[in-house]
Symmetry: C2
Subunit: 321 residues, 2 copies
C-alpha cells in the first residue's frame, strides 16, 4: 500500500482532535456543542498537519507542545469559518448546514468569539515570538477579509489584489504554522524561513485550487454547492481570468454584476467559465506555487516527514475535494 | 475644587488612549477607522481605570506594563460591544450610531475580530498567569452572552441567573483587570484577592446601575434610547423585580412577551415599572455591592489611589449616565 501524506503523523493528528475537543468544554453546553459541531465536521486539517510536519521534519521531539499550537491554529480557522459563513450567508460547510443556519446567527457569532479566545489561550502559553506569529497571522486574516469585502462584486478586480487576499486569509496562517513548527523544533533561522516559504506557497496553491473547485468541483465530494463565490460576487482567480476572456468575458461579467443572482445565473456563468482558458490558467499558477513549495524543501534532510511534505504538496494540487 | 475619582490617574488614562490608537493601525484603513470609531467614542474607561488604580494602590511602578494590559482590557470590551450590537440590533452606542449600522454588519464583524486579535497580542506578551486571567475573563464574557441569549424573552428568568449573566459579562472582566493590576505591582496573593473582590463587586454594581438607567436614565446623557433591554426581551434585574409586582407585574409581562414591541409598548411598560418598587429594590442591591467593594479595600494602605477607588465606587453607584 502506498502511504498517504498524513500516514507519518496520524498519531499527532489524533492528539490534535483530542486537544481541540478538550479545550472547548464549557459550562455553557451550547458553546461546546456549536464548537464541536464546527471542529468535528472534519475538514482536511491542513493547518495542524503542516505545523506538525514542519516540526517533525526539523527534528522536533516535544510532541505535546506542537500538538497544542497546531490545535490553536485549527481552532482559529474554525472560528473564522463560523464568522465567514455569517458574513457570506454560506448555507453549507463541509457537507453540513453552516453553524449560523443551524444554531442562529447570534449564538454562532458568540461561539466564534469563544473559539478565538480558546485558541488564544492555548497560543498565549508560548513565548512572545510564537504569540507574535499567531497574532500576526490572525491580523492578516482580518485584514484580508476586509480587503476581500472591498472587492466584492468588482468585475475589474486585479489579479494582484486576489493574490494579496488569499495570501492573508489562507497562506499566511499556514506559513505561521510551518514557522512555529520549525521554531519549536529549535531549527535555525534559515530553516525556519524555508519552512515558512513552504507553508506560504502551499497555502497559495491550496486556496487557488479551492477557488477552482468552486467552479469545476463535484458538489457531493465538496460538501457544498458550486458557484458560491460567483453568487457572493467574489472575484476569484478563475473568475478574474474568465472575465478577461475576449469571447465569453462580457457575458460572464454581466451575470456577475446581477444583484440577486439565481442558481440558473450561476450555472450559466460557470458553463461559460469552463469554455475559457481560465481553469487551465489558474491550475498553472497553482502548480507554480506547488513547485515553489517543494523547492523550499531542497535543503531539508531526507526523512519520512520531508517525503510527507512533498506528497502533501502534490496531493493538494491534484485534489478534487 | 473636589478632585474626581480619575484625577490621580489622568496621565495613565491618557497613555491608554495613545496605546489603543497606536495598536489598531492597519494597512486596511477601514479596520483602523472602525476601531477608532468604536474606541474613540469615549465610554467611561472603567476597565482600564480599575486595572491602573489597583496597580497604583498596590505600589506598582512599571507604568508602561499596566498601561498595555489596561488597554487590552478596554479593547476587548470594544470588540464585544461591536459584536453585541450586531446580535442585539442596538442602533445607538455612546451617543453614536452603532458600528454595524454605520459600516455594515460584515465589516463590523471583521473589525470586532481584529480588535480581539490586537488585544490578545497585547495580552500575550505577558506571562502565563496574566494570559490565563485575560483569557478566562474573555471566556466568561462569551459564556454569559450565551446564557443571556437563552433567557431572552423569558418572563420567569430567576434573579440568580441574571446575577450570573452580569457577573460573566461585566464583573469578571473588571475583576480580572483589578487582579492583573495588583499582580503586576507584585502584590501578595491576599492583596490580589482583595483587589479582585473590589473589581468583582464594582462590576456587579456597575451593571445593575446600567440596567436601571435603561429604564429611568436620561436619553440625552445616556447617548442611547431607553428601554432597549425591554425591547430586546432582556430580563434585567429591575424588570425581573417589576414583573413580580402583584399589581403591575402581569401587564408588564404581557408587554414583555409581545413579539414585535413598539416604542409605545416600551414606554407603557417602563411607566409601569417605575410605579413598582423595582428600581428602589435594584438600587439597594447595587448599593450592597458598592459597600462590598469598599469593604474589600479595608486592609489597603491609605493612598490617593485608594481614595480614588472609594470615590469611583460611589461615583458609579450614583451616576446617571
Amino acid at each position: 500500500m502506498v502511504p498517504t501524506w498524513d500516514s507519518t503523523i496520524r498519531h499527532e493528528l489524533d492528539l490534535v482532535e483530542e486537544e481541540m475537543r478538550g479545550s472547548v468544554v464549557s459550562e455553557q453546553e451550547l458553546l461546546t456543542e456549536i464548537s464541536l459541531y464546527v471542529i468535528g465536521s472534519g475538514g482536511k486539517r491542513i493547518r495542524p498537519a503542516i505545523a506538525i510536519l514542519s516540526f517533525k521534519a526539523c527534528g522536533g521531539t516535544d510532541v505535546p507542545k506542537v500538538v497544542k499550537i497546531a490545535s490553536a491554529f485549527e481552532m482559529i480557522h474554525a472560528a473564522t469559518l463560523i464568522h465567514d459563513d455569517i458574513n457570506d450567508h454560506g448555507d453549507y460547510r463541509r457537507g453540513r448546514v453552516a453553524a449560523y443556519k443551524k444554531f442562529g446567527t447570534q449564538k454562532a457569532l458568540i461561539a466564534g468569539d469563544f473559539l478565538f479566545v480558546k485558541s488564544f489561550k492555548m497560543g498565549g502559553t508560548f513565548d512572545e515570538r510564537i504569540v507574535g506569529m499567531v497574532a500576526d497571522a490572525c491580523t492578516a486574516i482580518a485584514e484580508s477579509e476586509m480587503l476581500q469585502s472591498l472587492y466584492e462584486g468588482d468585475v475589474d478586480a486585479p489579479v494582484d489584489k486576489y493574490l494579496k487576499i488569499i495570501e492573508g486569509k489562507t497562506a499566511k496562517p499556514i506559513e505561521a504554522g510551518a514557522r512555529v513548527g520549525a521554531y519549536l523544533a529549535k531549527a535555525d533561522e534559515a530553516r525556519i524561513d524555508q519552512m515558512g516559504e513552504y507553508g506560504l506557497a502551499i497555502g497559495m496553491a491550496f486556496q487557488i485550487i479551492d477557488d477552482i473547485l468552486d467552479i469545476v468541483g463535484n458538489e457531493k465530494t465538496l460538501g457544498k454547492p458550486k458557484g458560491v463565490d460567483f453568487v457572493d460576487g467574489k472575484p476569484t482567480l478563475p473568475l478574474i481570468f474568465a472575465m478577461a476572456d475576449a469571447e465569453h468575458g462580457p457575458e460572464i461579467k454581466r451575470l456577475f454584476l446581477k444583484p440577486d443572482k439565481s442558481h440558473q445565473d450561476a450555472e450559466e456563468a460557470l458553463a461559460l467559465v469552463v469554455r475559457t482558458d481560465a481553469i487551465a490558467q489558474s491550475r498553472r499558477l497553482a502548480r507554480q506555487y506547488t513547485d515553489k513549495a517543494k523547492a523550499a524543501l531542497s535543503e531539508l534532510p531526507d526523512t519520512e516527514y520531508k517525503a510527507s511534505m512533498v506528497k502533501l504538496a502534490d496531493a493538494l494540487a491534484e485534489r478534487d475535494t
